[in-house]
């Protein structure tokens, strides 16, 4: 008789329990993956192929997007800075926003949708067509043969992609700021070098990109490995990879930023 009260509550409770169970499951999967990842370094060509697949094939989208983001930063940043008569500080704004935030975050989001989804689809289809089971039958551990190389390939290529993204962004900002708008070339670079700190800005940005790489690669491999072995299940797993990667990247970014940059000036 109180069904209309208890039913939604029960539903919410079930969702929460399911989410916590999934978190435990993904951590257990991560541990198993780490234990099985010896082979991805002894048989290096497996990992190299995944770096090619996730890194090299993502180069074009990363470089073009980085360029565009940098050019937009150049336009918007100059418009705002020149109100305060400090258009020369454009280099600082472009470099800091790219190295600290936009480089790792946007590269991570692009990486999740370009490479993470592909990894999930590949593993999911292998599961749907029972290739993983077949490997297991032949005493080949699918975690070591399929999952671990894809994981480490993503972990290695994503920080490099983020660095390339930031570099292209700085170049794009330079193109708009110096070549098109006419900010002084010397002050663009010298102000940037004076204000961007290697330890605080570049290293922290790099740490961020490594953390995002771990998270996105783990989610992509896990969702593929965990999907329902049907066409619909694979498509849902791909959607979950992209959505959860994006949410995880943004949440982790907030946490990392609040540790790294809180209380600085």
């Amino acid at each position: 008789m109180m069904d209309w009260v208890t039913e939604p509550l029960r539903h919410i409770g079930a969702r929460i329990i399911n989410a916590i169970w999934r978190l435990g499951f993904i951590l257990r999967f991560f541990a198993a993956l780490l234990l099985a990842s010896g082979q991805s370094f002894t048989r290096l060509h497996l990992t190299l192929r995944e770096i090619w697949f996730t890194g090299v094939l993502s180069l074009s989208i990363i470089m073009v997007s980085g360029m565009f983001i940098g050019m937009v930063l150049g336009l918007q940043g100059y418009e705002i800075l020149q109100r305060f008569g400090s258009g020369d500080a454009l280099g600082i704004m472009v470099a800091l926003s790219l190295a600290r935030e936009l480089g790792p975050v946007v590269a991570g989001l692009l990486f999740a949708s370009r490479a993470g989804s592909a990894v999930t689809a590949e593993i999911g289809l292998m599961k749907a067509t029972e290739q993983l089971q077949a490997m297991d039958m032949m005493a080949v551990n699918p975690l070591a043969r399929v999952a671990a190389p894809r994981f480490w390939g993503g972990v290695i290529s994503m920080p490099l992609l983020a660095a390339i993204f930031s570099t292209m962004g700085v170049f794009g900002g330079w193109l708009i700021g110096v070549v098109v708008i006419g900010v002084d070339h010397g002050s663009f670079w010298s102000q940037m070098q004076a204000s961007v700190d290697f330890r605080i800005d570049i290293v922290n940005g790099f740490i961020k990109s490594v953390v995002f790489a771990l998270a996105v690669s783990l989610i992509a491999v896990f969702e593929g490995y965990d999907c329902h072995p049907t066409a619909e299940g694979v498509s849902r797993a791909i959607t979950r990879t992209v959505v959860q990667s994006a949410l995880t990247i943004l949440a982790l970014d907030f946490i990392l930023t609040s540790f790294m940059f809180r209380g600085l000036s």
Binding site: H45, L48, I51, W52, A99, S157, A163, S166, T167, D197
Partner: protein, 160 residues
Amino acid sequence: MSRKTIDLWVGIFAVLGIAAIFFLSLRVSTVQTSSGAPYTVYTWFDNIGGLKVRAPVKSSGVVVGRVAGIRLDTQKYRAEVTLAIDPAYPFPRDTVAAILTSGLLGEQYVGLNPGGEDDMLASGDTITMTQSAVVLENLISQFLYNSAANGSGDKSSSQP
């Protein structure tokens, strides 16, 4: 794709990525090329204005260190500013530290004006001669006060 082409592309990708990291660390930021750990020097100011931790320490316009810490000394009720200075730049003991502003709206920094003494500052030493930050409000009120006093003085002198 044969294994060789994949290896080649991965190599190109790695070179690009490492080049980007080098670009970011050498061209965008500056890796400190100091000759060792910086030495710390303590100073006390009556007023530090808007000085922030990590603000540059400059001498003749050259960055020689950073502000490492700021706190209020409750014994003297003055601001204690810790300066971390590159050991490549030794300063004499009678150096004067001043809080200056780069430009009208620019950031504040600590300017070091070296004296003539032969003894050099060592780690843990204090700079006793300091010059506080200029607080714009005080300056303006002083100016207004002076000009008001002058104005009334002129009037009284012209009246009789």
